[in-house]
């Protein structure tokens, strides 16, 4: 180039390229021609990292009863390339107790690329898996006769009880997503897929160990490298103590059989979940090992949706139990006092009918006892119209107060993986639907009795009962019996005296009201029944309650779908659960038999 003072620099740049390539050629010459050590290393001493799997942490209930443990299983792998030299197929089959024909079929299957995509003659292929110790005992002794064959030990989950499948969750093979997200996993590893197994995966899984072995170019193991200096032992997973009471859980699941529904029990003072039952359920042993995918698909295709954890994922209108919240909020925000009276004309009331017959006018205690719809409509209306004519401000205030009970939102500080949030409708929703000035108290009257757009999960209902039992706070419901969960305390801005009123009303429900048939002498219970209207079919039966009234130790919520009256179906289940937990045993055997044997939904399967 003309007048280019830096023209000569092209040679410098070309020179750099030449020097780099020359240096690399010298290095290649050293590695590939002069240095003899690499050849030996490649032929004799290739390093292989072999993973040692840790045993997964065990899971216990609150009383130290073992719920989930590990069973050892073995799998036999073989490297096809090794099988040719003096391989005695007959002896091998004899060791495993299989026929020659089965052996040939299995080998053909392994070699079939359509069935076994990752097949290679050079890498270990799984010949048989899920074997018990006695199955492999004789092979283990004569393993040296069969080059290329290895026995690999793994563990599978096993369960003491046929219960709590949703809560415990299951363990399955990791997918590509997990591998990309977490360097810990490699293909073929197992991890918790749902429930507690998933939430506490990091605690339960432990830490894989590694053994560095030397392998020759034929893929044969030649022992450990540098006398195991670089090996790392596997660290077993840490055991998990849950808050469940397995006896209570078993009872809840038994009572729900033949029905679609769920039951949740919480210890109010600690937020510990004592039982979390959802029906239809399945036997947790079904989702283990080689049966897992087949059974999983069967569960997935069941139209009653057993995989759904109805206790935390299904949402329902709360119905009458919501009146307890309504009472508390109306008292606190000054719409009513305990002495406020409202008239009730029974089934002739307007705009909301009353479903019970009782005297008129009624005060709060009686209104809760008799679940008087007109009372709560009037209270709600007065609250919405208390200050001015615009509903937005009082409604927002009411909604914030309601949400303090944990309703209509997920417990984000809890260890429950699968949760639905439910919903307490916002002013935005109504503005969108009716226009900013198009709705008034009368438009949303259904809310006053827990119907309409408000939906909650059974877990939230149980937590609501716990919050009332605690008179003004709740601790996020959780499953790990570890004190650290107790810091998630949520206070509710409502005076204690109002709780006294509502608790008295709930006690009356169990003495004089809709729950009186299931009261027992040895225990003072408080509760509220509900019958939630369901546009798709029969009403849902709902009950919340706690006991003993003097010092609540258990709060319960029960929902039975399409069962009709809450008093008939949900109340007895809750009552029996409270008796079981507080008295240590359940004496009403006839009632238990009666409830558990009644089938309300024909398609519910006992998996």
């Amino acid at each position: 180039m003309i007048n280019d003072p830096t023209y000569r620099r092209r040679y410098v740049i070309s020179g750099i390229a030449v020097v780099v390539v020359l240096v690399y050629i010298v290095r290649l010459f050293y590695l590939q021609v002069i240095d003899q050590s690499t050849k030996d290393q490649a032929d004799n001493n290739a390093l292989v990292k072999q993973t040692i799997y840790p045993s997964r942490g065990l899971i216990y209930d609150r009383n130290g009863e073992l719920l989930v443990f590990n069973q050892p299983i073995y799998e036999i792998t073989m490297v096809m390339r090794e099988m040719k030299q003096g391989w005695d197929t007959a002896a091998f089959c004899a060791c495993l107790g299989i026929t020659d024909k089965e052996f040939d079929e299995r080998i053909a299957e392994i070699k079939d690329r359509r069935k076994n995509r990752g097949y290679s003659r050079w890498t270990p292929q799984v010949f048989m898996s899920q074997l018990k110790k006695e199955d492999i005992a004789s092979l283990q002794e004569s393993l040296f006769l069969f080059p290329g064959v290895q026995i690999q030990k793994r563990t599978l989950r096993d369960y003491t009880y046929k219960a709590a499948a949703h809560v415990l969750g299951s363990v399955g093979e990791v997918n590509q997503n997990d591998i990309d997200r977490d360097d810990y996993y490699t293909r073929g590893d197992y991890s918790g897929r749902d429930g507690l197994e998933r939430t506490y995966e990091k605690q339960l899984r432990g830490e894989k160990g590694v053994e560095v072995l030397m392998r020759d170019s034929r893929g044969r193991m030649q022992g450990s490298y540098k006398n195991g200096e670089l090996d790392r032992t596997a660290k077993a997973g840490t055991d998990l103590y849950t808050t469940l009471d397995i006896q209570l859980q078993l009872l809840a699941e038994e009572l729900l059989s033949g029905k679609i529904g769920s039951a949740v029990a919480i210890e109010p003072k600690t937020g510990e979940i004592l039982a979390l039952a959802s029906n239809p359920s399945w036997n947790p042993k079904m989702l283990v090992g080689k049966e897992r995918s087949k059974n999983y698909n069967a569960l997935l295709n069941d139209k009653t949706k057993p995989l759904l954890n109805r206790a935390t994922q299904a949402t329902y209108p709360p119905g009458s139990p919501f009146k307890t919240i309504q009472a508390l909020v109306c008292l606190e925000q000054g719409a009513i006092t305990p002495n406020t009276l409202y008239p009730c004309s029974g089934p002739g009331s307007s705009p909301i009918k009353c479903t019970h017959h009782h005297g008129s006018p009624v005060a709060l205690d009686k209104a809760i006892e008799q679940s008087c719809n007109p009372y709560f409509w009037c209270a709600f209306r007065d609250l919405m119209q208390k200050d001015n004519r615009d509903i937005h401000k009082p409604y927002e205030k009411w909604r914030n107060a309601v949400m303090q009970f944990g309703l209509g939102q997920k417990f984000t500080d809890s260890d429950l993986g699968e949760q639905s949030s439910g919903s307490i409708p916002s002013t935005r929703l109504y503005d969108k639907f009716y226009g900013p000035n198009g709705w008034k108290a009368i438009t949303i009257r259904s809310l006053s009795i827990g119907q309409g757009e408000i939906i909650v999960t059974p877990l939230q209902l149980a937590n609501q009962a716990a919050a009332i039992a605690n008179e003004g706070y709740y601790i996020s419901p959780h499953l790990n019996k570890n004190d650290s969960m107790r810091i998630h305390r949520h206070n509710i801005d409502i005076q204690k005296k109002h709780f006294d009123e509502v608790k008295a009303g709930m006690h009356r429900v169990m003495v004089y009201g809709t729950g009186r048939h299931y009261a027992i002498d040895s225990l003072h219970m408080a509760g509220k029944t509900g019958t939630a209207q369901n546009p798709h079919g029969r009403d849902h039966a709902i009950f919340i309650g706690f006991a003993p009234v003097e010092d609540p130790k258990i709060a319960v919520a029960v929902v039975v779908e399409n069962a009709g009256f809450g008093a008939t179906w949900a109340a007895p289940i809750a009552s029996m659960m409270m008796e079981q937990y507080l008295n240590g045993e359940m004496k009403r055997k006839d009632l238990k038999k009666n409830i558990s044997e009644r089938v309300l939904n024909e398609s519910v399967k006992k998996w």
Partner: protein, 487 residues
Amino acid sequence: MRASRNGNIWQHVDWLTIGLFLVLVIFGWLNIYGASYTFDQTSIFDFSNRAGKQFAWIGGSVLMGIILLLIDYRTYDVLTYIAYGAMLLLLLATPFLAHDIKGSMSWISLGPVSLQPAEFAKCIVALTIAKYMGRYDYKIRTWRDLIVPFVLIGVPALIIMVLQKETGSALVFAAFLLVFYRQGMSGYVLWMGVAAVALFIISIRWGAVALPLGTGSLGIMVCMLLLTAVEVYFICRDHYIRYQALIMVGAITAIYGICLIINIWVPMPFDWISMGIVIALVFYTVFVSLYWRKYMLLILAAFTLFCIGYTHACDFVFTRVLQPHQRIRIEVLLGMKEDPAGAGYNVNQARIAIGSGRFFGKGYLNGTQTKLQFVPEQDTDFIFCTVGEEWGFVGSIGVLLVYLYFILHLIEIAERQRNVSTRIYAYSVASIFLFHLTINVGMVLGLLPVIGIPLPFFSYGGSSLWGFTMLLFILLRLDAARMEQLN
């Protein structure tokens, strides 16, 4: 006229480069097939394995090459700055659209395929630099003229390094230093780069080594002496200053020598002595420079201080800024740590795989090391292992020589341009290929730390192949335009 120009493209295009491109791509493809892990592999065209997928990518890249050649060459010039802006936006958006793949946030999935926008950024940055520096009124006179080019390469590099966490892809932008050098940037900048790397290695490798007969930082002492000598002979032309500097080197050596001897009987605090020397040196140079009015010496004093500071900064960067895995890679490379099961595993296995290939290789599809999956990433970043193992010394140097010829030919193309901007672009292309070749092969041969960047045309991956294709074929189009303009 456009039709006839387009018709002529096939006469003017540089067929030799296209030939080299095809040789490299096809040989790379064969090796990806070879690196697939079983001996009884299915067809090379089977789309379920990587060789089959790569075949599809190659088809796409050839098509892309043809399209790039058919576009009017002026289009590239017109679109350059717009493309640069769009590229920055895409790079910024990528971490938010990307899935986290082993810590890197640089992959965008488009249906079944994933693309890495950083691979295409190189080409656009090269075009932008070429356009900016190719203006008739642009010339590198002072360092101020380089501010804009440095910003142009620095911004995308920072985005890729910090937001996308792809250090390797970001380092590639350092290749532009060669382009700046060709355009007139001082050669000292390159030397400073080399010196900085050397100093980094020395202070990391020997910084913490205790002296045999006492305590003290040998590395820092050596660095100081070395750098004083280097700076004097390369920066100062003045004989008096050279003389002064020699006195300093002598004095420092003498002091250390005496201290070492005394150290035999009485342990000496070398750290304090080093510090004393530095302070004395600075005062001495300041005094001399002011007395004799030789202000160059002030720069020398500042430079010495800077070097001392730099060695400490190296230590800080190494222990605090670098990620643990990056630190271990460097420690393994410098022989400070042996870790054949962990960080050193790749490097060690790569060395064994290549070494076991010997002179003529084990033959195509017969490599045991790669087949048994001893070498991780053997079809992407470590593809050169497969070449080394299966084709041996002969095949490996063959590949290196083809690459060398390819790069030298690109420089040849660059120098025959009359249009400055095209020449700058051509140098950018050559430098980027040279950088990739150097880093990738150096890493596989265990001469450089493990930095995950692909070997152009060889490594499996659509984004990198397409990125390099774009880089190359735009150059071919611009080169062909040279003849068209002549006509």
